[in-house]
Every structure is written in C-alpha cells, then in structure tokens.
Point group: D2
Chain length 359, copies 4
C-alpha cells in the first residue's frame, strides 16, 4: 500500500534475516480488517506510507536469532505455528506506560501493518515472510487451533474481548451490540461467556446477522429494514421490559450509533465505544438526558493489550467447538488479489477475509 487511494503494489524484496533476538516467519495467512479499508482511504493519521498491510497474522517460525519463548517461558521451536502481538515499541518508560498505566496510549507504540513503514522491514502480514522484531511477543497457537480459526476471530477477537472486559458485564445482564462486523460478533461471543442473560445484535447485512444468531445471539435487528432510530430503540426496549439494556457495546463505526445506543441503555447502564477507530464525523448527544440524568457510564476502548490477546486465545481454544470462529472466514485471497479483498470488505460482502500470500 503505497499511498492512500493508490492501487496496491506487489513488490519483490530480499528475504529478511532475523535481527538479534528476533525471528522470521513464513506467512500462513493474514487478515483483512476494516482498518485496512480505512488505511487505503487514508483515514488514519500518522501512517508512514508505503506500508505492508496485515496487522494480525499467522505464520510458521522459519528462523530465529537466539532462543524464542512464549509468555510462559516455554521454548518455541522452528516450524511452530504462531501469531504475535502486533503492537511493538511500547516504551515501558514513559508517563503513559508507568504512571497512568495506559499502555495502549503510549506515544511510542507502533503496530505491524499500520504504523510500521515498509522501509523498516517486512512488518505486515500481506507478505510471504514476516519479520519479528526483538521484543515482539510471539504466541504459539494452542492445540486444536489452526490459522483459520484464529484469523476467523482476527483482531476482532482481542478487541471484542477488551470491549467486554471494559463493559464489566455482571452475571444476568442484558447486552446489546451495535454492529455485526468482526468486533461486534466477537463482543457478542465474549458477552455470552461473561454471564450475559441475553445478547442482541443490531447491524447489517443479513449474512452477518445470521452469523450473529449462529454464534448465540438471542435476536438480531437488521438496520436496513428498520431505518428509523426510534424504532430500533423501541425494539431494544421491548426486549428489556421498557428499561433499556444493562450494557450496550458500540462496534459499528457510525457516529450516529452513539446517541442511538445511549437511548438503548437503561439508567445506570454501561456503554462501550469501541467502533470509532477512525474519525467518521461528529455525533449529537444530549448531555442531560443521555448522560447525566441517565447516570450512564460511557467507556471508550482503544486497542488491546497483550493480556487481551492471550486470554481471548485460550478461551477460543476452549470454546472453539461451540463458536466455530473459522466459519466467519467467508473468503480467502492470494496476495495478487488483495485489492479485491479490500473491495469486498468495504461493501461488507464478506464477514472475514484472509490474505494467503502463499496460496
């Protein structure tokens, strides 16, 4: 991805060698996520184009410079199927890291496939090889989890996990998820695993809502069929004895979802905003009715920490039979058709798309 709005270019580069303490992976697959579409439209600031997209990926360890170990201290052998925590460069030494303990806001933080310039190396998954810089945390896929399972969740897995953690769901809570993309679907899964009594998904298109129901959502609302916001709010209130939901998780990317979601929320409820990863514009809220009198708790949720990746992955290994994440992968693309993947993603004709550089 050379620049916003420009066609993707495939480039042939020399095979990387691991830096001391680092490694090189042979890519198995990498995800296409909504952020990649935003990147292509130039809607994120501070992106050092050209970049190699693909922030969450799976590969096999090809070579390392020095021994590799997972977070538990167990050695990682060559040939192991791994993913890795895509955030690197978190400094561990600044005020955000040390005093505020808000590592996802560390100003030194970089992300594979997003804020890593191609000049720094093969730091993105849409590539036959991925360079693992020293300090990047490798995570072997648990037994029984293949690349398709993990990437069926993709970055939506830890992001949805983080949103549910932040929501602080109490056992017996009713949860509404706004948005039926990968983040929303994973949030719907983790809400169930956290003791929600019922989970409702509001989104589109129907294929994604069907996926939501298959994953256990109690009911879904197709926003293309119910265009009036007040009708959608009424739909939620009908399912919550008129009170609104205990928890609403916004994972839609649409600014107008925010005031609508606040209307869907009960007094004293919790509202998580996790879908606004790019600036899609402003929203109009009523501070009196929607925040102050409602005694609402509104929680922005940015990025994810290693802990979210680790915990969401062990839960995937446990519940893969029940949720079948790999079924979310609608289509796979070879590297030379990656721009088709972006286009399909943009028109929402796929739930989850993978790039397979070696297909």
């Amino acid at each position: 991805m050379t620049a916003p709005g420009r066609p993707l270019e495939a480039r042939r580069l020399p095979a990387p060698r691991p830096r001391p303490g680092g490694a090189v992976l042979e890519t198995v697959a990498s995800e296409v996520c909504g952020t990649d579409v935003h990147l292509h439209h130039g809607k994120l600031s501070g992106v050092p184009y050209p970049i190699i997209p693909g922030h969450v990926s799976v590969g096999r360890v090809l070579e390392s410079s020095g021994p590799l170990a997972d977070v538990e201290g167990r050695a990682i052998a060559s040939g192991t199927l791994v993913t890795f925590y895509d955030v690197y460069g978190t400094c561990g030494a600044c005020w955000h890291c040390l005093v505020a303990r808000a590592a996802t806001r560390c100003p030194h933080r970089k992300v594979y496939g997003i804020t890593a310039p191609a000049s720094d190396g093969l730091l993105g998954g849409w590539s036959e090889r991925i360079e693992i810089l020293p300090g990047v945390r490798l995570v072997p896929l648990p037994e029984g989890i293949g690349a398709e399972d993990f990437l069926g969740g993709g970055c939506g897995l830890p992001t949805g996990f983080h949103a549910v953690e932040r929501a602080g769901i109490a056992m017996g809570d009713t949860v509404v998820v706004q948005g039926s993309g990968p983040v929303g679907l994973n949030a719907a899964i983790f809400a169930q695993l956290s003791g929600a009594l019922a989970v409702y998904v509001v989104g589109a298109p129907e294929a994604r809502l069907e996926a939501a129901r298959t994953l256990g959502a109690d009911d879904t609302l197709d926003i293309t069929r119910v265009p009036a916001s007040s009708d959608r709010v009424a739909w939620v209130r009908d399912r919550t004895r008129g009170r609104g939901a205990d928890v609403v998780i916004e994972a839609s990317g649409n600014p107008a979802a925010v005031p609508e979601g606040l209307e869907m929320l009960r007094d004293g409820g919790r509202y998580v905003v996790v879908g606004q990863y790019t600036d899609s514009g402003d929203a109009t809220v009523n501070p009196h009715r929607q925040i102050n009198r409602k005694h609402a708790t509104v929680l922005g949720c940015w990025g994810y920490e290693f802990s979210h990746l680790h915990r969401s992955l062990v839960l995937m290994a446990r519940h893969n039979g029940r949720f079948r994440w790999r079924d979310l992968v609608t289509r796979e693309y070879p590297l030379d058709r990656a721009s088709e993947a972006l286009a399909d993603m943009e028109r929402l004709s796929v739930v989850k798309a993978l790039v397979r550089p070696r297909l």
Copy 2:
C-alpha cells in the same frame, strides 16, 4: 410557586401535625439553588405545581409522633437542629432499587421542594414549618456546624461529593472543575480531600472564582475573559504537561462544556457530567477523538444517596475551619423576598442564597 413563570405567592396554611412516625420542624433556613431557578422557568418535567420550593433545609424539631432517631440509632430530642435527606418515597422494592441498586433512578422517588405537590403538605423549606414524613431520614447537624455552615454547602455539598466519588480520583491526580457554582466549588473541595495534586476551576463570574481560590483551587480561568474554547483547552494543557487533566468534572450546566471538557481530559482520563440537571440542549462530540481513541471514561452523576449526605456532612464538621463553607452564603432573604433570591441566583450575583422564613 404556583406555576412556571408565575410570581411566587405567599400562602398562610394551617400548622401541620406530625403523621405517625413523622415530625414537624420549625424552619431555620432553606437554600436557593439553581434547580429553583429551573423550576421557576418550568425546565424540569413532572413537577406537580403548585409546590413549596426549598429542597435542602435546616430546622428545629418542634414535634414528633413517636421517637426519632438518627442513622446511628441515637435519639433525636425536640429542639435539635437538624437537616434531612430530601429524597423520600424511594420504594426499596423495585428493580432499580433491588436489582440494579441504582436507587437514585427509582421511579417512585420524590424530592422535597421539587416533586412534592403542595397538596401533600409542607414539603419544602420556603415555609415556616416543614413536615417530615414517616421514613424521611433526619440528620442532626454535627457539633460546631450551624445552619449557615451546612447551607453554605447546601445541595452542592452531597452533589459535589457524589461527583468526586464517581470520579474515582487517584492520589496525585490533576483535576479540572468546569463551573464555579455551588456544585463546582464543593467538587473542588472534595477533590482536594481525595488526594488531588492540583485542582483548577474554569468558570465565572470572578466573585465565584475568587471563592474557588480561597477554597484552595490552584488556579482559575474566567471564561468571560477567555471566550475561545481552544484557548481554555490550551490553558489546561499548559498546566498538565500538554496531556490534559486526569479528571475533569463538569458542573456548569452548559451542554457545550461537555466537548470542551473532553478536550481538556488526558487519554485514559475520567470525565464526570454532574452539571446537566435540566435539558439545556444538545452537544456535539467526536466519538472517535474524544471517546474511543482517548480511551475516556465518561460518568453521568445523578442525584445523591443518603450516604453522600452523611459522609459529606461529617467531613464538613472535620474541615469547616479549613474551608469555611458559611462564607459561601452571600445573602439571606426573608420569605416575602424569595423571588428576589431567585433573580439574584439567576444572574449569578450571589454564590449561595438562603431563604429565612422566620427572619
């Protein structure tokens, strides 16, 4: 107060007798708060006019029907100087009370001087006598605390306390308070008592800002002299190493304060909305920049519970020498000049005004 926009009327009513389990107070003084101005403008919904204004008051126990006791179980004798928790009728039996434990949102909740119709009795402090219904919680003023001390805090005392509790101030946090009325000033006090490193107050007019500085605010910003929102944000960032404040408490009543306050907030900070007690209109926020990417926590804060009244009052008794709440009382009015009090309150020419029915 017979109806919105109508002149106040003084009426002579028969002296009340206590109902079984209730009591009658001889009023010493009652506060005039911003809500009274809103009531007079008809900006609150569900108010059963005519009403007797005055929700937070002090009186002496004149008569009771049955023994009276405080929350610690100690008897309250006739003649004791008391205030009372102005909320009554909280049912203790509904879903909000029992399951959500959100008592300030109980639909059966009523408030002296606000949602109590005059036809139900003398349930407001702008009156020579106040009827204490059975179950209303009486609170003797602690030793050393007079009516003027307590009413210098008034309803702003427990409201500001609640806002600071909800903010979850960590020791060493920097706090900005938007608004320099009674709620804002009390929030500035309790922020200091909670371990804030520095407290900044943004408001007007100068007399209130001077009060803020006397009460320990590190610095104040007069919004009438710095009319541009971006300059006010810059003023805060100058005092917080460019990051924004750890905690911002909105106590201004102006919807536009909300997006401005979010800009004053650091990434990962907490924002409390406690000033929007009536619907003064909408606000425009940017969900991406001000909530999601900022990883902000936004906390609506409605009403107060008995606990907030109790705890704020014992802290007043402890710190009255340091904060001198009674100095916030700018002026006192006899009952027949109550409409003057409303007018002075509206033009902010007083910090705190008292009605003294027996002056």
Copy 3:
C-alpha cells in the same frame, strides 16, 4: 426444632391469615441445607428456638391481603408458584444499610427458618403453610422452572452466585472451588458462566464430585483419597503451570481449607471465603507468605442480597437445560421424616434434600 440437640417435633397450628400487605403460601417444598444441620447442633448464635426450619422454599399463593407484585411491578395472582427472598426486616434506615451499604450486615436483618421465632408465625418452610410478612419480596418462578429445579439450587444458588460476583472472575481465569456441597457446586456453575477457562473442584464424597463433573467441572479431587494438604496443593499447581489458580473459592466449611486454599492461589489472585457459616474453629495462616508477599485479595462473603437471588434465578431459567439443577435433588422427605433428612445431610449421603410437607 424446639432446641439444639432435641428431636424435631411436628406441631399442629391454626392456619395463618395474611397480615395487611402480606400473604400466605401453601408450601410445595423446602430445602434442607447445611445450616439446618448447624441449627440442630446449636452452632449458630442468636437463634430464637423454637423455630420452624426451612429458609428457602417454594409455595403457591393461597391468599393475600392486598395486591401482590413482583420486583418488575407485575401482579402476582393467587395460585402462582413462587419463592421469596428469605431475608426480612432489613431496616433500610441504619448506618449499615445507608452509609456502608452493607445490607447483609444490617443488625435488624432476620431470616425465615433461621432467626424467626415460631411464636412470630409460620416463618419457615418445613410447614404446610408459610406466612409471607408485609415487605417480604415474592419471586414467581420463571416459566419452565419448577420447585425441584429451583430447590436443586436452593440457598446455594444465590450464595454461590454472590461468591462468584465477589471473586470478580476475569475472562480466562482458572478457578478452584474447595467444597462440593450445594454452595460449591453452584459456585462452579457460575464460575463457568462468568468466563472461567477451567474450574476445578476439590471435595468429597465421590457422588458430589461426580455431580461437579456433570455440571462441567474440568476435574475434581477427592480429598478422602488425597489426604495430604501439600499433595492437593500440588494437584492444583500441576493444572496451573505451577502458579496456582487465579481464583479460589472456599465453600467447604472447614477452617483448615483456608490456608490450604491460599497455597492453591497464585500471586495476586483472589480468594473468596464463603463456606464458614458457623464457627468451626480457627485456622493458622502465614501472613507473610500467604497474604502479603502473595499480594493476595481475600474476600469474605456473607449472605446474599435480593439482587443475587433475582439474577441467579433468571440465569437458571436460561441455562437449566445445560446444568439441570433438579438432578442435584437426591431425595425428598415428608414432614414427619425431616429428622432423617437432617441425618442424611450431615453424613453427606445426599447432595440436596427437600422437605415436602404435603407429600
């Protein structure tokens, strides 16, 4: 139950009539719990013998004095199958209720079947009728839940729920439950519903451990076969990569379980003590190793609030197909064989026993 250690007596009493605001139930069934055994041994203080045992019960509404409603405000008709929150008399007016918000420690709190003297009425479930005092919260059993389902959980249902709520289980946590009685089994259920990665139950006898495995426990340890505490600790460490569990819930009633459970806990973990409902003696702990250096959080958990009963019951209605609570009912006894129920309970030959006064 006339006095500690004395045989149970069946007495014929006049049929009760509802007090104003109250009701009378025709008893369907009442549980026998460990507390009943303790009551019979005189191990609880402040019990006003003679009492009618049976604190958690199910009945049909026979008669009421005034309209009845559930917590959502819906009318409860005669003939409805209900249970009720067994705690009554919580004052809502004392320091514990209002300031500390620790209602389970309100000194005025009384409990059906435990601290209600028989002279006050039919306030226990081992009786053909149960008197519902005014203010006692009735709860209709949800659709699809019969008396056997609910009483299969019994008081262990909200108690186990409360323990899991207090544990603050994070998604992906590994949980050990010490004790395989009704509280332990329900804690194992709710731990799974809260996102635990794995749940291990340490207890006896084998029949209860089998129940635990049927209910989804990943593994169980029979303490009668592994008598050495250090071996049991090693068993947990083997299943937690040597670190100990993230959360341990003590539901055993044995004081020695406390230091053993602390050894099973990882550094920084949370330990809930919910099994010590009577004084069974002291325990020896090492404050340095087991609390301070371990950075442990130890959480006593007393009683349950209405919220816990309500939420655990709606979750039962949702998950009854998965967990099949009614299978925990090992045996039912008519009223004249209640002492046999106590004996079976004491020797742990039943998981859950019911008294059916009208069998």
Copy 4:
C-alpha cells in the same frame, strides 16, 4: 554485608563507569530501613550475599553513557539531584507482567540493595557511588525537595502510598494504622490525603507515636502500655461507635497484629497487610468470625510500582510544608558507622536513619 549475622565490612572498589544507557551517581544519602535489619539477620530468602545495602537512595548524576531522561521525557543533566526506582530487571515479557499485570510479582524482578549481588556492581546506596543500570528509572527530586525530605519518607513513602491505594479509602472513612514505623507513618499521611475522616495509629515506642500525632493522627495507642489485645480492640471500637474501623492497615511486622486488626475492623471493611515483609511466623485467625461473617476484604500489598514512587513524590512536593517528612530523620551515620545504624533501627531508637557515605 557479607553474610547474615556477620559484621559489615567496608570495601574499597574501583570507581564504576556507566554501561551504555546507564549512569553513575555520587551518593548523597541512603536510607536504613527495617528490611536492612532483616537482611542482616538473614530473614529474607534468595539474597545473594555479599550485597551492598541501601535500596532507596539519593545521589547526584556524575556521569552517563548516553542521554538521560525522566518519565516525562525531560533531559536529566549531570549534577542533578536524583533518586531512582530501586526495582530493576522486571521483564515485561512474562505471564506475571503481561497477563496478570502483577509486575511486583515478576520472577525476574531484582531490587537494589536487596537482591543485587555486589559482584554485579555498586547496586546499593551504602557506597560512595551508585551504578545506574540501563533501564533503571531515574527520578529528579522536585523543586524544594532535598535528599533529607525524600529519605525522611524513604521506601516507606511509596510503600505507604501503595497500601493506601490498595485500601480504596472512601471519603469519610475512619482508618486505623497498626505500626508506627516509616510505612505506618506514611500510610497515616496518605490516608489523610485520601479523605479519611480520622486516622488512629496503634504502635510504639512513644517517640514514633508522637511523630504520628505531629503528622496529623487523631489519636495514638501505645501498645507497650496497653498490652491486652482485647483492650486495644476496645480502644478502636470506642472511637468508631462500637463498629470498628472502615479500614485497617497493618504495618507492624508482627503476625499477631493480623487477627487483632481484623477485630478492629467493621463488618464489610477493608484490611491491608503491608507489614509482613519477612516471615515472622504464623497467625491464628477465625475464618468464620473474622472473614466470612464479617464480609471482610483482606488485601496483601507487596512492593511498589514506579507509579507509586512517582505519585507519592509529587504529593510530597505539594504537602511538604504540612507533613515535614525530613523531621522523621532522627539520625545520620557515616559509612563506617552503618552497623550502629542497624542496631539503632533494630531497637527502634530512631524513626528514620540515613547513611551518608560521604559525611
């Protein structure tokens, strides 16, 4: 300190040179804390004798290899008066660091003056020079804070801060501190800064209790004059309306303080164990009465994070006029009399002792 129980030895070593990214300080002063006494008695496990004691120290930057910066990113020039976070080697890569986010339990963590072998360099403050390893966090002393001010707090400053943070003191809480050494005194300070209504200190000897009162404690109890535990519990109950304190912080080092402190605690209160830094033996607790029925929260508190050091130091700079930490320094010792400092510390004849290597 060559080995447990052996006399201290002064050794002359070559002046250290900074490693790349590191620095060398000229020592101004270093504290003598209770841990040093324990180290000398061999009561800590895993100490790699010989060591250079002195974990919290102040020095001037003599030389660095590469630019130095504080946590805010500001350059630190040669000659600057600094302290540093004494913990180093926290890996940031293991399960404790990344998943449990319990960095004070990272197994790779080392501490200057405690777990740093002398063979690794001048990693302790009882030395004319201190070597700052790469990655160790330097902290310039704030304006107005001298070495004596900071070391008057010493390691007790962030430790007491951490204990109070963990206690979660609510505004208006009554707090009891058990122990009047540096940790206890700093906990008493930060409890006041957190909104405590009253702080009581239980300890000895009288000189330390006098310091506690000077620092604002409402009352103190000399345990040498009130030897019966039940009398001490009664003393606390007399000051808390018979209920016990909302929060009790154990900072005494005596295992028997734990059950005593639990008796001093109100139902539903929070108990922090921060004084048991070495294994001084077991304690006997009653799980029923002191934990379960009391619904107590017991919080072990180990070590401190950088955040605690940073925040406690900025608060010291703010409140140094009120609390005058430097007055806690009872005596200073040149390096060759360090063993005298240990002896004075052991017999509690000093509150805080400093070693001044260059005196």
